[in-house]
């Protein structure tokens, strides 16, 4: 097991899965904002993804230079097998801890 995941790390890895396993930094930010309403600092996504990269939970590749980015390239991240396993492990831990409370948590979330 490649260690534990922080909350934002989990969310960004889930974001990668939602985007088919790979996504650019800006896509991940928008995915996070659209699904959770959370706005993260522009540099923060890259900082977190770099940490995951160091742990081999993601890998990186670059796209072409595109005009809508002022002629700059996109930076894409792709989840690795280790990343998927770590995320699954992390998710299982949450499921176990929340076992029996799922309905109640859903209700509380709806109320808040």
């Amino acid at each position: 097991m490649a260690g534990h995941l922080g909350e934002l790390e989990q969310l960004l890895l889930l974001g990668l899965l939602r985007r088919g396993g790979e996504a650019s930094g800006i896509d991940l930010r928008e995915e996070l904002q659209d699904r959770t309403g959370r706005r993260v600092l522009p540099g923060a996504v890259y900082n977190i993804m770099e940490r995951l990269l160091e742990r081999d939970l993601v890998e990186v590749f670059f796209g072409d230079e595109v005009p809508e980015r002022g002629g700059r390239r996109r930076k894409y991240y792709r989840i690795t097998r280790a990343g998927e396993r770590t995320l699954a492990d992390s998710y299982r831990q949450i499921e176990r801890m929340a076992d029996g409370f799922a309905e109640r948590l859903r209700r509380l979330a709806a109320e808040s």
Partner: protein, 868 residues
Amino acid sequence: MSGPRPPRWARALVERWVTGAHREFVLGDLEETFARHRAVDRTSALWTYLMLGLLSGLRDRTREVLSGLAADTRHALTRIGAHPRFHLGASGVLALGLGMITAAWGVEYGAYARGLPVRAPERMVAVTGVDTDRAERVSSFSVADMEVLRAQAQGLEQFGLWGTELITLDEAERAPEQVFALRATPGLFDLLEIEPAFGRALTPADTELGAVPVTVLGHRLWTRRFAGERDVLGRTVRIDGVPTTVVGVLPPGPTFQGEELWLPVTTGGEARRERAWSVLARAAPGTTVGVADAALSGLGTRLDETSTVRLRLVPFAESFREPGGVASRYLYVVNRSGWLLCFMALANVANLFLIRTRQRTRELAVRRALGATRLRVLRQVLLEVGVTVGLALVGGALLASQLLAWYQGRMDAYYSMPISWQLWTFSPAHLKPLSAAGGAAFLVVSVIVATASLQGDTGASLREGRGTTTRFRLAQGLVAVEIAGGGALFLLAALMITSAWNLRANDWGFAVESVMTGHVALPDTDTRSDADRLRLWGELEAELERLPGVEAATLGTQLPVIRYAGRWQARRAVDVTEDGGSRASELPRHYVASVAPSYFETFHAPIMSGRGFTSADIADSEPVALVNTAFAEVFFPEGDVLGRRLRIWEDGDPGPWRTVVGVAPHLWMDADENRDPEGVYVPLAQSFPAELSVAVRVRGGPASVGDDLRRVVSGLLPGVPLTDVRTMRELIRYRTRLYRRDGPLFIWLGVAALVLAVLGLYMVISYIATIRTREFGIRAALGASSPNLVARATLWGFPSLAVGIPGGIATGLWLTRGFARYMFQVDPWSPGVAVIGFGVLTLVAIGASMIPALRAGRVDLLRVLKVE
């Protein structure tokens, strides 16, 4: 095709905020975010992005700055650890300066600014005034004035009148004693927040005309004279002959004015209009002294119809300042000395850092060549300065607290009754000047070091030490000013040391060791006629002469070296013109003493020419006078003084023409003055004084006759005390206590200044020697002799000396201007002082230059090249 792009300023902002490897992608995201949104949403999207970016940037930048700072601090500490002697030395020198300036500030603060120990000292004010007609300062007011003030002055909520006087305390079982009393209205107790330890305070009823006289005893008097007995309450004592009831005793602790007991001011009857009192008041809460003063200024001429006094409110302790007075001059010199020392310490530290930077030129250049920015280099150097100044601040605070504790000790020894609003010990308030001076030191050293560190381009610095000429010109300039400052304070200290030496070795020229003295004053209420008074003094003298062991006894309105502030007017207008046309205000004022015929003989001080007074010089005989040698020399330089006539004014009366019958020797008519004052003596039998000093010359030791003297006086004058019973030696010690109190302070200031100046000179020569090591090595290799090199190096200090030494002597003389009271038999303007000062300074300076010069002279080219 490229779509809409975010504004240029937004991109510039992001470029500035975001650091590190992500910057390009974040910028790309900004552009893409902008492009993805519909036109209408773009602005809000942009702002959201920017606000988030700002936070992110700030966080990253802070983290970067902190980590850079931590690294630089580590680097600075490593450097300091590698050269502990340099940094500790620099901190020590600066601490000396900071400590001195803080202590010097504290001397004045403790005397005039700390204020009363009450809940709101800043609201305590003294009422003073200026008589606009006579251009005189007014500080005495009447009870009636206070009532006008109370009715009209806005912003003042409470008043107290007070005044001090010497009274004679007398009870049946103890010898009478003169003590210092405070006369006050009851309001002063509230203002000073004083409550009696037991018994009661003064009340308004005590101040009424015809009230039973009462007193509240000070704690010291109670324990000293009444053995701390609680049944003292209700006891009757005689104060200036008036039976007075003790109603209370104050708690221990400092006093308001050094008083031993309190008496009420009489507020009724004619006394209401007597302008004899100082006024203490409290400004209302929320009112400043300035506002209350402004409100009062309109009242100026309304105290009564005829008053031309413009009233002013000043902070209480400030009202004791006498501009131009000795205390002000003393504080001025102490204060300026503190500044000067601090400046010198600062100049030394600046020079130390200049030398240090010079030694590090190569290191700094290498670091810049390796990519360190100017800012980075600067930050590291300034951190070193910061740590040095920080250490100096701690050292300065410790030094100042020690110096002030020492000063407090001296003051406690000097004043027998401590005064509550004069306190010199270190307090948080002292941190203000300390930190201001420390901040200034940091700024100055930083600017010098920054300029020196970043001077010239890297290549040039690596090739050869450039930019050094300006630096050593700066160093030489600083040292010149330092030598001037050091020289000035050294001169001051030298004059003080000379004074102390003169005092110790002084031949007073009269009998000192065998003489016992005392002082007796008839009460104001004494109604004796002039003839009766003369008879009384005659009996006193005769009885004193009859005492066993007494060789001679005399009386006079003053004694050599000491003069009591009494009812005898000691300085009077003396008219020697013989035409009698001059008015008193146009005439010079001189010392005038009234003495018995036995005066000069008792002190073994024979008359210089003519005759002394005899028993034939009485009220009905021809009025006569003696002049002292100084008077004769000034007014009768031809030597034709005997038989000349002079007139002595008293209270607007020119008095009779007196014939000069003799010339008296110099007998220290005023020990305060640093010269022999011109003075005149008149016979006791022709002047009828109401208070006199007595002196007896005793075989063996004088100490044994003290009680005999008291017994004689109390036998002749029941209830009148003989005060200040002391030997002549004790009297001289008392009179010259000023030198002992303040002398060491100036000596320490002078020594500190000289050390700093010498250190400065030493450093500048070392500095130049460091710069020119290579040149000296080459000279030595080419055959220059060692003495030649030493002489050459010694001369480097010459420009500093040439400017500094004359500057120092001039500044020193300027500092001593109006400071003659602190000198004993020393004339700061005599050429000898300047020559000796110049000589000593030059010798010390040459000595300081020689040490590094000798080192420079031993230079070896091979070693120099090897090191390089």
